[in-house]
């Protein structure tokens, strides 16, 4: 996994990476094959800036953004704009009419050029055949909506350009013998609520002030999270043999909540999705960002329920303890620190990789990768080479 490492190495700005998908792909094809990785990063870690421009996206700031409020310097990566997009007093609305609320209220708040959706048909009109017969053309026929559709059309063209470049990259890498790490991803429902709806602070307070509503909202997100991922897997024609599902986990790490809160709010809906993925022959690869040392019992219990069906990717967790507790049941991945990639020496890198291989090699199932989203943007190439060389040197047994 990576974001901008290959474009940095190829000499492109982050703005170029986000606005010129061909450069994003070309950089990957230039930088990764010589490294001889077992899995190459997908391009999906870099988001298409032009799509966000055409939608008027508000939840990121990024280099090259048309909206001055969202614009960052050409050499800065995109960054989330935290916010309570859904207000505390809107739980009743979202639980009563979830899709309607998201379409009419959240989409316009996330993307300002999609304000027209505020006028989309309500529940009773949609349920009523007469209502839709009149309402659908009335809505889509409005001049302001026609304008909105033009923006969406432009966003779609840019999105397809990006997907085409990503698919081409995946195909070419496959021909060179390098599988792409993953095409599919899904999020924990708690992270969706915390990142895109209530904000981190809002969701944390909701655990105290609105626990039952929060849990109801989390449960609502499970079926579609699962089914949409399964559907995307079925529609994949480029590399259908790749059944890994990347699950970046952000807000359930040590410190971000107690074990009791983890058990009540974070873990059940995440495991429900992972169980569903496994039952559909997909391989969950939860990326436990931060530390999960306090949570190892939960992780172990779930791993033992589905032996040989998942990859657990670790960052700051004690990887040796994880291996000891459940390494027989789940593949373990990680956990070269980003700080070592950026500021360490090749010698220090070799020592670190040797240490983790020796500690985790027993019984196989260990994958060496960075603990901070794989290869970080600022990684020194000599350290990445040292990391890979160390795998070949110490990883044969």
């Amino acid at each position: 996994m990576s974001m901008f490492y290959h474009t940095e190495q190829a000499g492109y700005t982050k703005k170029e990476a986000m606005y010129e998908p061909q450069k994003l792909a070309d950089a990957g094809l230039k930088v990764y094959p010589p490294l001889n990785l077992d899995m190459v990063p997908p391009l999906l870690g870099v988001f298409p800036g032009a799509v966000m421009d055409h939608l008027g996206s508000q939840f990121f700031k990024w280099p090259g953004a048309e909206d001055p409020k969202c614009k960052l310097d050409d050499n800065l990566p995109f960054q989330w704009v935290e916010g309570e997009y859904m207000k505390e007093n809107e739980y009743e609305e979202i639980l009563t009419d979830p899709t309607g609320f998201l379409i009419r209220k959240i989409i316009p708040r996330h993307h300002k050029k999609l304000n027209g959706f505020m006028m989309f048909l309500g529940l009773s009109s949609l349920a009523n055949a007469y209502g839709t017969m009149i309402g659908i053309p009335a809505f889509f026929g409005m001049p302001s909506i026609q304008e909105m559709l033009k923006s969406i059309g432009q966003a779609a063209m840019k999105l397809f350009e990006y997907i085409k470049a990503s698919n081409q990259y995946t195909k070419q890498m496959k021909e060179l013998g390098f599988p792409v790490h993953f095409n599919l991803s899904v999020q924990a429902p708690y992270d969706i609520v915390s990142e895109s709806l209530r904000g981190m602070r809002g969701t944390m307070l909701d655990m105290y002030h609105h626990p039952e509503e929060l849990k109801a909202l989390l449960k609502l997100l499970v079926p579609d999270s699962l089914m949409s991922t399964v559907m995307r897997a079925k529609l994949n024609q480029i590399n259908p043999e790749n059944n890994l599902v990347f699950i970046p986990l952000h807000r359930g790490a040590d410190g971000f909540m107690s074990n009791e809160q983890f058990e009540e709010f974070y873990w059940p809906t995440l495991t429900a999705i992972m169980e569903g993925l496994i039952k559909n022959d997909l391989i969950p690869c939860p990326f436990f960002e931060g530390g999960y040392n306090d949570r190892l019992e939960y992780l172990g219990e779930f791993a033992k329920k589905y032996p040989g069906k998942m990859i657990y990717w670790f960052d700051k967790t004690d990887i040796f303890r994880a291996k000891e507790l459940f390494g027989d049941h789940v593949a373990i991945k990680g956990n070269v620190p980003g700080s070592l990639m950026a500021t360490g020496t090749p010698q220090q890198m070799e020592e670190y990789v040797k240490k983790i291989i020796e500690g985790c090699k027993e019984g196989g199932g260990f994958i060496v990768d960075g603990g901070v989203s794989g290869i970080i943007d600022e990684a020194k190439p000599e350290n990445i080479k040292a990391m890979i060389d160390a795998v070949f040197k110490y990883g044969k047994y």
Binding site: K61, L76, E82, M204, Y208, F256, S258, P337, L340, T343
Partner: protein, 210 residues
């Protein structure tokens, strides 16, 4: 421990607000109320260190504090002017990074524990840190950075402070998701904190206080 302090430490929000309103009606000294709140925040910090409390509890305590201060507001201006602070902390997220949640929790905890905090916000250029150190004269500089690009921004900020002859006058702490001991060495800071409570402990250690 008094009942009021206990209720705050227990994060019994409704009980605390009720008690503060009663105290105000009974003309209790707002300074005394704030002293008790500070003691409660200190104990909350200890619970965090002992892993009885976690970040949501700190956020909830911040929300309780916000409501207490709102009720005390009419009397607050006098209070703030006469309140003696332990020390001054200049705080900001370094250049290139716009993340602020962690920084805001650090600010709240330092403030609640008796420090005067000047928060420069996010994406703060190195030069601005230098100017504000000269102007505000803090004992402590706290640099926040979530992304890995913050390593070099922190390094540049500290180098510019050295060039300006200001490094020796400061203790510098850094924090953020990807920061560790090797980054403390890389950027030439004095320490890093994994949490807002670590920030308070470092500040207390460096400036005296507890």
């Amino acid at each position: 421990m008094g009942e009021f302090i206990k209720k705050i430490v227990d994060l019994d929000e409704s009980a605390v607000i009720e008690m503060v309103k009663n105290k105000v009606e009974n003309n209790e000294d707002p300074l005394k109320i704030l002293d008790e709140v500070k003691e409660a925040m200190k104990q909350i910090g200890e619970k965090f260190q002992n892993k009885e409390y976690f970040l949501p509890d700190l956020i909830l305590s911040g929300e309780i504090l916000r409501q207490i201060l709102e009720i005390l507001e009419p009397k607050l201006k006098e209070v703030q002017a006469s309140e003696k602070k332990k020390g001054k902390v200049l705080l900001g997220t370094v250049a290139g990074d716009i993340h602020d949640i962690g920084k805001d929790v650090v600010k709240f905890m330092l403030d609640a524990n008796g420090f005067e905090v000047l928060d420069l916000g996010v994406d703060v250029p190195a030069n601005q840190f230098v100017e504000k150190v000269k102007e505000f004269k803090p004992q402590i500089l706290a640099l926040s950075g979530f992304l890995t690009l913050s390593f070099d921004s922190m390094k540049e900020t500290i180098e510019k402070l050295k060039d300006a002859g200001l490094r020796e006058s400061l203790k510098i702490m850094i924090g953020g998701g990807t920061v560790d001991d090797s980054i403390v060495e890389y950027v030439d800071a004095d320490a890093y904190g994994e949490s807002a409570v670590d920030a308070v402990n470092l500040a207390n250690k460096w400036v005296g206080g507890d």
